[in-house]
């Protein structure tokens, strides 16, 4: 993490502190998986749980809830990539989540309106709009809508990321800009009630691509699609983390200047990672809308954007599965606690931020890693080979990342 706050600090900070702050990447990776076989095993277990057991055991309500968690977890996968691996603390993922969600919601609202034999949505008629705004007309066709969900957020992230990273704006500056972006986006959505229905958001969807959403069979299929998309994202990130790109990304996080001196362009690497994170968030948002049935500015502003981060931090930001597991756990705890003890849940969230990030920056994954290392150290000590304890984990790490 080369978080250069001020130029003075670069000169005073010894070059090695960056890598010492976070647990090494491989340490985290080694916790959840060991090499391709472990990854396949992880994905396989996930697939069986999500694609077979969950639909068979959970009712319609439970499935919807789990589907919602999975959509949020997609954002977490992207944050793990950008923040955990790339060191870019993006506090504005709500923007990309919101872009995907609103594009999808606009398309679905239009489709429902057409089914009802109207030309413009009800909330627009109530606002006295006579003609469909052009912005809405574009996403009327399902193919265009899906393309827009993919292209618009990645395009925005690409432009913005390139503008920011190529000028070497990083660390705190980037975090603050991304946060301001989330604030501005929420304000923009609320401020255009004619286009977006303001702070009420868009809701009451009946169909998705012609499929009736009140039919339980269709909802189950929708859940399976969500689960499959998340599994694909995990497979993609696993491959990315093993690739040269993944290694470069970590290198940029730990020592950006060295990567630059080696002839690579850190801005390009960071922009690509940021775009992938944005894409994942947008897909999560687009699937969130049919699963949950509503999208409003309350889901995408500054606070929800930061709330995406806590699950990632708890699970272990630089690990492969940590962000997903942490995010699902936090969503689950949130729904369980928030309705029963709303104020306790807020305190708990605050405490989690303080404890996990202040005292356990590697997340729960690093606890497992510590335990494992202590155990292997003990074993080595018994054999009278204390020196081996430091090298043993390294070799397994290298196996895991290559």
């Amino acid at each position: 993490m080369t978080t250069t706050v001020s130029p003075q600090q670069t000169t005073t900070t010894p070059p090695t502190t960056g890598s010492a702050e976070l647990p090494s990447v491989a340490e985290g990776a080694g916790v959840w998986t060991t090499g391709p076989r472990g990854a396949l095993l992880g994905l396989g277990i996930g697939a069986v749980l999500l694609l077979v057991i969950a639909p068979l055991t959970l009712g319609g309500f439970g499935l919807d809830l789990l589907g919602r968690y999975l959509c949020v977890a997609m954002v977490a996968v992207g944050i793990g990539l950008a923040w955990g691996r790339g060191g870019m603390l993006t506090m504005g993922q709500g923007v990309y989540f919101g872009l995907g969600a609103y594009i999808m919601a606009m398309h679905m609202t239009l489709a429902d309106t057409t089914l009802e034999g109207e030309t413009i949505p009800t909330f627009m008629r109530q606002n006295g709009v006579e003609q469909l705004p052009e912005l809405w007309g574009i996403v009327q066709h399902p193919v265009v809508a899906v393309a827009a969900v993919i292209l618009v957020p990645t395009g925005v992230a690409g432009l913005l990321g390139w503008a920011i990273f190529s000028r070497r704006v990083k660390g705190a500056y980037f975090a603050i800009l991304s946060q301001a972006l989330a604030a501005a986006f929420a304000v923009l959505i609320i401020g255009q009630p004619v286009l977006t229905n303001g702070s009420n958001g868009l809701s009451n969807f009946h169909s998705l691509f012609g499929w009736d959403l009140s039919d339980q069979a269709n909802r189950t299929v929708l859940f399976l699609v969500v689960a499959a998309v998340l599994l694909v994202m995990l497979a993609v990130t696993w491959q990315l983390y093993r690739s040269r790109f993944g290694e470069l990304l970590v290198a940029v996080r730990d020592q950006e200047e060295r990567v630059r001196f080696l002839g690579y362009d850190p801005a390009l690497i960071k922009t690509v990672a940021y775009m992938i994170a944005a894409l994942f968030a947008a897909i999560g948002g687009a699937l969130f809308v049919p699963v949950v049935g509503i999208i409003s500015p309350a889901d995408i502003g500054v606070v929800p954007s930061i709330a995406f981060l806590i699950g990632v931090a708890i699970g272990g930001r630089s690990t492969w599965l940590g962000p997903v597991l942490g995010s699902i756990a936090v969503s689950f705890a949130g729904t369980q606690l928030a309705s029963a003890f709303p104020s306790f849940w807020v305190y708990l969230q605050g405490l989690l931020f303080i404890l996990v990030i202040g005292f356990l920056p590697g997340g729960l994954a690093s606890v497992l890693g510590l335990v494992r290392r202590r155990r292997s150290q003990g074993a080595n000590d018994d054999g009278g080979q204390a020196a081996g304890s430091t090298t043993a984990p390294v070799s397994s790490e290298q196996e895991a990342t290559r």
Binding site: M1, T3, T4, V5, S6, P7, Q8, Q9, T10, T11, T12, T13, T17, E21, G87, L89, M91, L160, A163, I164, R167, R168, V169, K170, G171, A172, Y173, A175, I176, L177, Q179, A180, L181, A183, A184, F185, V187, L188, I190, G191, Q192, E256, E257, V302, V303, I306, L309, A313, S343, V346, Y347, Q349, G350, L351, L352, F353, I354, I357, G358, P361
Partner: protein, 294 residues
């Protein structure tokens, strides 16, 4: 002409509020590289101090005079506690302080909600601040003039402190090179604590000022924190002079774009301008010259 004057005044007034909210942030940010998201909640604490003092004392004028120093103490104490318990151990992880202090801000917000209730409360204006004042033949609200004057006093006092006193010299030394300052016998730990006390105390003062132009709610901090951060980033981190220019600039731009469009569009335009500006000067308006990388 009258429209122009009132627009310029509105912009400067907004800028002065932003500056008041940002100047303490700029101090703590520049000093320690600590990004304090709870700064907004210190502002809120100041606002609720003004509210509570008025409930107790009754008279609006007296309570304003009492709550200004009291809010400084309360904000400063909160900051001191935060620095001593959490931030001290995280100086080498500036990005992480951002999230830890966000956790603190969540807790403080909920605390305010549980103590004062979620609905917003109002602080009555003192008599002498409720009417308009004529400036160049244009009527402007006296409360806003008061905030403008307060901001000038606070910023002037802070720059005097930084440039003339021995504490200011120590602060500047630590900002420029922590290691060298320590090597010359400055206790960076004590300097840090004092800086944080002053910076957070200024947030409390900002909170009192904000009660004069709007109502107070537990989410008051979140409305100002993002803009305050933008001021700090655009001005150049740790640069009081830069923060002044940036705050005035952002305030004026916001008001002028609002005039032609809506508040929300203006906000987005201002953000785009800041991003574009950072393209030209990534270190902000005022930057210390170094030979360091990046």
């Amino acid at each position: 002409m009258e429209i122009l004057i009132s627009q310029v005044f509105a912009g400067l007034s907004l800028g002065s509020v932003l500056l008041l909210a940002a100047v303490g942030l700029s101090l703590t940010f520049g000093q320690m590289g600590v990004i304090n998201m709870a700064h907004g909640e210190f502002i809120m604490a100041g606002a609720y101090t003004a509210f509570t003092v008025q409930q107790v004392l009754g008279s609006a004028g007296v309570s304003l005079l009492v709550s200004l120093p009291l809010a400084f103490l309360i904000g400063g104490t909160l900051g001191l506690i935060l620095e001593a318990t959490l931030l001290r151990r995280m100086y080498h992880r500036p990005l992480d302080t951002l999230l830890v202090t966000f956790g603190v801000s969540l807790i403080l917000q909920q605390l305010a909600r549980d103590i004062f209730g979620a609905p917003s409360v109002d602080v009555r204006l003192p008599e002498f601040l409720s009417g308009p004042v004529m400036i160049l033949g244009t009527p402007v609200p006296a409360s806003r003039v008061f905030i403008l004057v307060l901001t000038v006093v606070v910023v002037a006092g802070l720059s005097l402190l930084l440039s003339k006193t021995s504490l200011g010299r120590r602060i500047r030394a630590v900002v420029q090179s922590r290691d060298l300052a320590e090597a010359s016998g400055i206790s960076s730990r004590r300097t840090d604590a004092l800086t944080f006390f002053i910076g957070s105390g200024l947030a409390g003062v900002a909170g009192v000022a904000i009660t004069l132009i709007g109502s107070t709610s537990p989410t008051l901090g979140t409305t100002y924190i993002v803009d305050a951060f933008l001021v700090v980033v655009a001005g150049g981190i740790g640069q009081i002079r830069g923060a002044v220019i940036a705050a005035a600039g952002l305030g004026l731009l916001q008001v002028f774009f609002e005039f032609g469009t809506t508040a929300s569009i203006a906000k987005v335009i201002v953000l785009v301008i800041v991003v574009a500006f950072l393209q030209i000067r990534p270190q902000g308006i005022v930057a210390t010259q170094t030979r360091g990388l990046a």
